[in-house]
Symmetry: C2
Subunit: 463 residues, 2 copies
């Protein structure tokens, strides 16, 4: 390892790497759940060329490398294990180009998501991907975890928002796949390998992101329904009526709404007690006709009986109050604790059956357990928070019950967050042995010495 | 090869394979450009299990296999070379499930595209991918070539319309990646390997397709503009105003419009002579407000001066007349012959510069040459037809000039059609040596004996 550090400094200058006590705290994590340790060294490349040299040398030394962005991931994909070298993209933080005609922004991997959003905004455009960690998470991490967030329904996940990228392979080869075109069927679509593979196949160094004209109108409503079948009928009607403009369809089951109201300072927009609540939002381009269309949708859904009640936001303040309910899990540390949270996906039609099964199975294990359910159901994505007054908190046992139920309903143990290290044991609940074997074949073909983020996603690939 | 045929018949019954003169004509092609020959045998599996047995046996015999769908591909990805065995998916033609809540249709790979469209229609839903070969092309081929077509702007290419799939690897392993969820970040997104790789990495046997609520309104206009900058400004305005509903933005350069009118039986909707014509279409969900919004868009663009003229279709018949102009290349065999046609993509902002450069370079080579330009420019996709009265027709020399110009403008030599065999020599115009090397690494990792569609996309991978 000493030779490697010397080689790195000789090749790229003494400031290319920090070691030992110089390694800053934000390059590791103290969150016990993520099982991270302090990397023995952190390299700070300034360019794809630097990344290439670093990986080539590490590959020669069979040195494990953890690519690191903003360290905001929830599955531990960027935490270091013992003896690993961290590769921080934090020096590669430039926005290189905004091409308004192509609708693209070319950025280095270390740019913060919020910086991208603000640059798009200054160009009177929108980069739609948005999530809580926007201020510190980096677009390289966003890409390598195929991040989702709040507007997936309208604009897609990170995969749909990346037209091209540059990535460095473990042997130092720079793959220039900086495509700007929406259509390109000239050979394999290599960018797909690096998106969502959590840094195990290559280090993303540059991205060509899609940007969009800014929406000119936002319409928001909070509604209630008496059954999941009605919720689905309302989703179908919303999809049809709003065409491509539907941007959120957030469903809250009754017990979630009960807990959510604990942290609301204002009165509730709709009384509690209904089986289902839906927050629906559309981003349009023509304020006048959009408003008419949106109010018509809610009126028709009430007439048809698929909604029992509904209130359309008349101001930004109204809309914020609706979203405050949906976002109340941010306050659960005060109102619903101790708990553990889940991010899973299921076929849309089966989500309510899943919810009932999951609630029942948890109750069978712990009569006093509480669990609440909510999420982007139009994206097939549901979140679960399980609360139980028990010490020590039986996190693992709860996980097993929830993920077993996900498996039984043919869902995914990770909708958005990835596998990282925290869901390693549950990958096989959602993927077949043949699929996992093929993932390993890919991993070993591209990274034969297993130096890139070893142990993540696939665990031990040597077996 | 005799042993292989016996093994296949012993394993799967005597009707699993046809050989020699029994091989029907539609399993090969007489189109000289595609360089196809009659395969020595065709296997007709009834299931993924059959495909698995066939590939496993072929792999043992190192027998090259060419997967075949409806044989409508334009790049020759499904034509057989000497000594190859064809694998026809034509017996696997069942629609297995329509899940309205999930918005999915599960189909076997041999179903014709039109059959899928019709089944969606009967369920009051839309499968949006559409192209000329709909009656005979199969969804397996649509997936393996990442087909595009007429509504990419609104709904995306095949890649965006496939949530999950089942594919068989060369060694017979069945990969079950039959995901129904819009979000699934549990491990590598393996379906991306098989989509668009033209049957070189696996044989797709089953697909989970996305289906959508039917649009309730279609708005169509034909417009003219005085400059490409104005066309782009109109695109930006259309994108913003119509939000997600914009479904077509077809640009016709002046000389295309001149040639197009030769085959029109009715009068022209707009007089010729303007530098640019644009056919714009929106698919909405609320007929009344959609019409108002669409007419407002055209009015505003005329006011702003980005359009010089514009006519909104008042009937289906009007809309058909607009599309007849755009689709006039179907008649070019009568009106513009001999010719050769191209499907390329370029960064949107540079398309007009590309068009000028391409036209000039062709003129420098042949003073009498004609070339016309049109296409889905919002998708970055442009088509070119080059006409020249010369015998023998200098197809290859024309291709070289066009593709060199594409390379110089950093475009793609294949927007939609793929590489197959006809664009093999030009892959390196759009992809770097490092990218092509990585494609070969993937190919050999998954198909070490190179039995699956050898020679396609990557040419000879042994070197």
């Amino acid at each position: 390892m000493i030779n490697l550090i010397d080689d790195l400094k000789n090749a790229l200058g003494s400031d290319i790497v920090k070691t030992g006590d110089e390694v800053p705290e934000h390059q590791h994590t103290k969150d016990f759940a993520l099982r991270g340790v302090r990397p023995f060294a952190v390299a700070y490349p300034r360019s794809a060329g630097d990344v290439s040299v670093i990986l080539r040398l590490c590959n020669q030394h069979h040195q494990a490398v953890v690519p690191q962005g903003g360290m905001t991931g929830l599955a531990g994909g960027a935490v270091a294990a013992e003896g690993q070298l961290a590769l921080s993209l934090s020096r590669m933080g430039e926005i290189e180009e905004i091409d308004l005609a192509a609708g693209t922004m070319t950025v280095q991997a270390g740019v913060a998501l919020q910086t991208v959003q603000e640059a798009a905004d200054r160009a009177d455009m929108l980069f739609p991907l948005d999530l809580g960690g926007r201020g510190s998470c980096q677009v390289g991490g966003m890409a390598s975890t195929n991040a989702g967030g709040n507007r997936v329904l309208r604009y897609g996940m990170a995969r749909a928002l990346i037209l091209g990228l540059e990535a460095v392979l473990p042997d130092g080869t720079i793959i220039n796949n900086l495509n700007k075109m929406l259509k390109n069927n000239a050979g394999y679509d290599l960018k797909q390998l690096f998106i969502g593979s959590e840094g195990t196949l290559g280090v993303i160094t540059r991205l060509i992101l899609r940007i969009f004209p800014k929406p000119r109108s936002v319409s928001t409503a909070l509604c209630s329904s008496r059954s999941y079948a009605d919720v689905l009928a309302f989703l179908q009607l919303s999809n049809q009526t709003l065409a491509g403009a539907l941007s959120a369809f957030e469903v809250m089951w009754a017990d979630f709404y009960e807990v959510a109201q604990r942290s609301q300072k204002r009165g509730l927009p709709l009384p509690s007690g209904e089986p289902f609540y839906v927050l629906v939002e559309a981003l349009g381009g023509d304020p006048l006709s959009d408003k008419e269309k949106f109010e018509g949708l809610i009126a028709r859904a009430l007439e048809d009986g698929v909604l029992t009640d509904g209130v359309v936001a008349q101001s930004l303040r109204d809309a914020e109050a609706f979203w405050a309910l949906r976002d109340s899990p941010g306050e659960f540390r005060q109102t619903y604790w101790p708990n553990t949270a889940f991010d899973v996906s299921l076929p849309i039609g089966e989500i309510d059956d899943f919810v009932e099964a999951c609630r029942d199975r948890l109750r069978s294990a712990w009569p006093d357990v509480n669990s609440v359910y909510f999420g982007h159901i139009a994206d097939s994505n549901i979140h679960i928070v399980v609360q139980l007054d028990q010490k020590p908190f039986p996190k693992r046992a709860i996980e097993e019950i929830v993920y077993e139920t996900v498996r039984d309903y043919r869902g995914s143990v990770s909708a958005e967050h990835g596998i990282g290290v925290v869901k390693l044991d549950f990958l096989e609940f959602s993927r077949t042995p043949e699929e996992i074997a093929l993932m390993r074949t890919l991993k070993l073909a591209i990274d034969p010495h297993n130096i890139l983020n070893p142990g993540k996603v696939l665990g031990d690939v040597s077996s």
